[in-house]
Each structure stands twice: as structure tokens, then as C-alpha cells.
Symmetry: C2
Subunit: 205 residues, 2 copies
DNA sequence: CGTAGATCGAGACAAGTTGTCTCACATCGT
DNA sequence: ACGATGTGAGACAACTTGTCTCGATCTACG
């Protein structure tokens, strides 16, 4: 989804090469700025200077600063979405799923996007929708592994999608956002083992 | 710690009643603005208008916008810090500790402060120090309960402070920041039970 | 290859913001 | 009552934002 009139793929018209170039330059520069200085640096002026593009050009493509922000966030996530294949044990599948997530949070602009969405979701409804869509997507991988495990009788059937995500993604996100430190492989394994131990099928207290 | 010359308590001089009034008005208005529109709304102009105070007065007390932000964040947290007494079982103590934290995150400006710190910690070193100091404080309560439990042989001695916080505060924070929804009492209990089940002393895989 | 039409960068412009001063006036502590 | 100090209003230059216009350049398409 693109927030601007020429949404790049859906419409039949071919996009002018100059337009494509400008959009790419602006969005790339926008991602850089986002990572270096946070979402508040994504003004038309800063982005135009950074992208070496006329200020009017940025206004032409994104009359509304909010849509510029949204498009930069989406551009930052492009290519960060991977599909993990589930073939091994529940533990290995979960570790693989969460490792992919941890890597995205560790290195790419993903973390900055998430933080921006958390910060702005309270204020703007468009950003809130984006935020919900994105985190739902992030939950999906974990949930598909957990659901299979529940079906196979390995995990507590009381578990729901949000709960499973909270218990697995939550601790990893905490380490990156509130410690703050990069997430290591051992962290992922600790989280997975504690999660599995904490939600075995015959749940007794 | 206050970022401005007259730090309010340390120095012997009594603070002028007019200064106290201005500071209070600005900081209160700042907290309101922070909650309603996020940290980026904390400019001298907006805050002055909101506080019904001269713009020059705000500049007088906080020449640097960063220090205004820091003082507003600290003012927002004042009175939010509670000490929980630990008298019952490990489970009850942990639930009490995390419930207090969940309540702060649910209702007050605490959540907005945390999100601001996460967002700005990457960019500014003063904010980063504040961020670390604050989250360390938040970990302390949980850790004191967990450490006692380890000493009594109830929990895995491998647990460390950050790990314990990640496994307990992490899931709660996830619910508030990434779902996003208020944290309910049942969420806290689920987290505590899974944590205790996942880290019992005779840890075998 | 040539042309009609679109995008581009540069810059003009009004409106608003930021940071700094100055000044008359109100309020404070003594 | 008085001297000292904080306050609000406003002037001011420098900068930012959003909107236009213009000539130069590039693209798609015949």
C-alpha cells in the first residue's frame, strides 16, 4: 500500500523513470534519516537535502508529511519480511522463527519502524492501523508453530495468539528496547525453553 | 536530578514562589502535552501556551529544549514510584510487583515516558542515561523477589536480573506496546505462572 | 528520430516558529 | 515600605513550511 496517488504497481500506467528515481532516492534517504535521527527528522526539507532532490519534488509526491512518514516506514520494511519453513521440532521451529525476528530487530531499520509506530500509534489513527497490521504479521509466524504444537498435544490449549507472542516476542523486544542491548542467540533459546517449559500440556499449579 | 540551574532541593537558597509556580505550571502542562501528542509537542511555544505562561519564561528556565524534555519526563514519573512489600509467597510477591508496574503502564503517563526514552535513547546520550537508570529501577523490584526465590532454592540459579525482567516485564510491555491493549490482572497472573513453571530449580530439558 | 507532454530543480513568497533581547510591571523576602 | 527579582508582552532576525511559477531537461510513444 502506498499513500500517494501513483501507487506504483496497481494502476495500469507505467511509472515515469524520473518519478521512480525521485521516489527511490527520497525513500532511501528517509530510511537513513529515520535510523540516524528518528521519525521527527523526516521533514520535507531534511529528506530533500539528504536525497539530493528538490524540495518541491518531495512536496509534489507527498503533499502530506504523514504520508511521507508512512511510505518511509513501509519502504524500510520492504525486504525484511521472510517466511520461515517449519520442518523440525517445535523447539527448533520456534527458535528459527524468533531468530529471524531477532535479527531483523537487531540490525535493520525494523526496530526504528516499530518504535516509531508505538510512539505515533497513540496519536494518529492511520499509524495505528499500520501498527496493528504489522504486529499481527509478526505474531503469525510464532502462532503457526505454537498452534501446531497445541494440535499435537505438546502445549497448553489455553494459549492464544497474543499470549504466545507476548511470552516469546515480548522478552526479546524487552532486551532490545529496555536494556538496551542486541539480542543474542542464547537469549532466543532461553526464551523458547522457558516458554515451552511454562506451557506444557498437563498444566498443574 | 533536575537539568536546570536551580535544582529545587539541593541548594540552600529558598526558591522564589513565582519561580516555583512557573516551573510547576510548565511541567504539568508538559506532561499533559506529552500524553496527548507525544514528546515532539514539547516545544517552548506549545508548552508556554498550554501552561498559560510567557514564552520568555519557559526559555528563561529551560534554555535548551532537551532539558525541558528531560524535566517533563522526570516530573511525569514523580509519584509513580511505589515500593512493594514482599511478605507472601514468591508467586504473590511477583504478582504484586508486576501488578503495580502494569497499573503504572496502563494508566499514568509512565508508558509515554518509556516510549519517549526508547525513541530518543538512540539519538541522545543524556536520554540514554536516563533510560538506563529508569529501567534498572523497574527491574529492581522483580529481581529482589526472584533472587530471594533463588536463594530459597525455588528458582533456577542461572537466572540473572535482565533475564528475569525480560521474561516478566517483557510480555506485559508487549501487550501494552504492540497489541496494543491495557494489561489485565489475568495477564499478569499468566505471565507469573509461566515464568515460575519455566524456571523451576531442577531444570531439565 | 522527433515531438508533445510530463517531471525536475531553483527560487519567490507569505505565514509561522525559534531563539534572543528589552522593558514596564507585579510579586517576593525582609 | 523597599530593593531585588521574576514575569508577560512584544520586537527582531534567522529559519522552516507550504504553495506557486518558471525554464530546462527527460521520457514515452508514435
Amino acid at each position: 500500500m502506498s499513500a500517494t496517488p501513483p501507487p506504483q504497481s496497481p494502476p495500469g500506467r507505467v511509472e515515469d523513470a524520473r518519478v521512480a528515481r525521485s521516489r527511490r532516492a527520497v525513500l532511501s534517504a528517509g530510511v537513513d534519516l529515520l535510523v540516524r535521527e528518528g521519525w521527527s527528522a523526516l521533514t520535507h526539507q531534511r529528506v530533500a537535502r539528504e536525497a539530493d532532490v528538490g524540495r518541491a519534488t518531495v512536496y509534489r509526491h507527498w503533499p502530506d508529511p504523514k504520508h511521507l512518514l508512512i511510505d518511509v516506514l513501509e519502504h524500510a520494511l520492504a525486504g525484511e519480511v521472510r517466511t520461515i519453513s517449519h520442518v523440525d521440532s517445535t523447539r527448533d521451529d520456534l527458535v528459527a522463527e524468533l531468530t529471524a525476528l531477532a535479527e531483523a530487530i537487531n540490525d535493520g531499520p525494523t526496530f526504528d519502524v516499530i518504535v516509531t509506530l508505538i510512539e505515533r500509534a497513540d496519536v494518529d489513527s492511520d499509524l495505528r492501523r499500520f501498527h496493528e497490521r504489522m504486529t499481527r504479521l509478526a505474531r503469525r509466524g510464532v502462532w503457526s508453530v505454537v498452534r501446531s504444537a497445541i494440535d499435537r498435544g505438546e502445549l497448553d490449549p489455553e494459549l492464544d495468539e497474543v499470549g504466545a507472542a507476548a511470552q516469546t516476542i515480548g522478552p526479546l523486544f524487552y532486551r532490545r528496547a529496555l536494556v538496551p542491548r542486541r539480542i543474542r542467540r542464547a537469549d532466543v533459546e532461553t526464551v523458547v525453553d522457558a516458554f515451552l517449559d511454562g506451557h506444557r500440556t498437563p498444566r498443574e499449579r
